[in-house]
Amino acid sequence: MKAGKFWAWVVFILGAAYFFIPLIATVEFSLRMRRGVYSFDAYKVVLGDSQFQTTFMYSVIVAIFTILLGVLIVVPTAYWIRLRLPQLRPVVEFITLLPLVIPAIVIVFGYIRMYGSNSPLPFLSNNVATNALLVIGYAALALPYMYRAVDTGLRTIDVRTLTEAAQILGAGWGTVVARVILPNVLIAVLSGAFLTFAIVIGEFTMASLLNRPAFGPYLQNLVANRAYEPAALSIIAFIITWGCMSLIQVLSRFAPKSANRPN
């Protein structure tokens, strides 16, 4: 067992080196904007850039709408599958996994061809509709993660009893889902939400091909034209991702651990 422990340390240290050196290099590079001394100039320039602020805000708003749409689609479906249509589970699971098989660039290519200005559903004909299409596309990309998170959450509560209890008290389906089921899986929904946020905030392919003024294309443009600012932005992006993941971690501590009645 001793040798095993030795090798475990070796593997761990090698892995840590591989993962930390690029981060250290980026931090170091981001501090070098002023000649000869380390400074936070690059961060100041980036954060003060009005284009950074507008594109970042745009992506934050898109992320919020994506999360809302994802919740609206996934929670009732996962609930209904658990309660009434368990035979459909394999089909729904298969569909939710499709975005992992079909690359985002193919999905958005399909949108561009199907929903162009001359089509029956001209999503690309005006700005608002194109923004909506971007939100829809992101919701599709986040589908595997959102569904997985919500379904795991539903597994820990007794869906059937909760539903029946609510119905006996006179609740309709809308009330059952919104006021009984959703609060009970809120923590799972939130961890799906933060993961969605982390995916959406820097996404490049869809935003760029739909010509949206999002954070990802802005970053891409910056890398091509500047030296130190992209390093600062990479660190900021890493911190945002880190923040989302830590929140998920914290939330999972509040989540109920055991299933009342696993089904």
Binding site: E28, M114, I248
Partner: protein
């Protein structure tokens, strides 16, 4: 959810005898999943099918295999080939390195905080892709990157003089591994956790050595989830574009970048050839998944 206003009927249906009541109940049952299927159909399945069909049509809308044959021209074939190589290399390296790390933190007797810290970090790093990742590697292994410079000044090793280039197959692979390893760790740790202690004890009782225990128990049990994750990693790398685009611009011609350029500006001067490229991408990721299902049914048969 206004379309689901028949709770009483649905509940009554549960106790009613099958047959007539079931036939009455079915439509309302399906209403509950209609929004989901509508969404999937409109924004996932139909757009993809549209491209698939377009790949087999010419401008006049007639059926043709010309677009598919056109994929076999040198530059497109080269793009597919380098994409497949990068995806395969990064998924295999990522899978084995990720497995090693997962085993080290779960079974290696390391302190507990290392396990949770590694898992949190993996969650972050598996989502750390695209432009920021590309830039992190430019700052590390680019011509003026930290490691490049340090190796040159400390050891006198100029990796660029020895043929290394970040904007190459290996450069892209090393960069992709950064999100592949953590993804493997995140997925495979629960599977390793699932290995029951009793199995190890049972094997030891029967006189198995550590090596035999691994070869005959651990590997067969982990094999399906390992293979499944490799396929997932492959698809993950195969469709990735932002990282490569930020890293190499268009100097390294991988398929997603070729398709990106085609969507943007019709660089191939043939819209249907673009559809064919998209078809080829799905064909390859789909094929990988079929292999996975085939492998898994085989290994499940052994597990029984």
């Amino acid at each position: 959810m206004t379309d689901l206003t028949l709770p009483n009927q649905a509940i009554a249906g549960k106790t009613a005898p099958p047959g007539e009541a079931r036939a009455l109940r079915l439509p309302t049952q399906w209403l509950g999943v209609t929004p989901f299927f509508l969404f999937a159909l409109m924004f996932l399945i139909l757009p993809t099918l549209y491209l698939m069909l377009g790949a087999f049509q010419n401008d006049a809308g007639e059926f043709t295999l010309e677009n598919i044959f056109a994929l076999f021209q040198a530059n497109i074939l080269a793009a597919y080939w380098i994409s497949i190589r990068v995806s395969l290399a990064s998924s295999l390296i990522g899978a084995f390195a990720g497995l090693a790390i997962a085993i080290a933190i779960v079974r290696g007797g390391l302190p507990n905080w290392i396990r949770s810290a590694t898992l949190t970090f993996s969650g972050v790093a598996s989502n750390f892709a695209g432009v920021p990742l590309a830039f992190a590697f430019i700052a590390t292994l680019g011509r003026l990157g930290l490691v490049t410079v340090l190796l040159n000044t400390l050891v006198g090793l100029n990796i660029y003089a020895h043929g290394f280039n970040l904007l190459s197959f290996w450069g892209l692979t090393i960069t992709y591994v950064y999100f592949q390893i953590p993804l493997m760790v995140v997925i495979i740790v629960p599977a390793i956790d699932g290995l029951k202690k009793e199995w190890g004890e049972a094997a030891a009782t029967l006189g198995a050595t550590q090596a035999q225990y691994w070869r005959m128990v651990v590997i067969p049990v982990l094999w399906p989830s390992f293979l499944g994750t490799v396929i997932l990693l492959f698809a993950n790398a195969f469709g990735a574009i932002a990282t490569a685009y930020a890293l190499t611009g268009s100097s390294l011609n991988i398929v997603p970048i070729l398709l990106y350029a085609q969507i943007r500006g019709d660089v191939l001067h043939n819209a249907h050839l673009g559809y064919a490229i998209a078809f080829g991408m799905i064909f390859i990721t789909g094929l990988a998944n079929i292999f996975y299902i085939w492998f898994r049914t085989r290994s499940e048969r052994w597990l029984k």
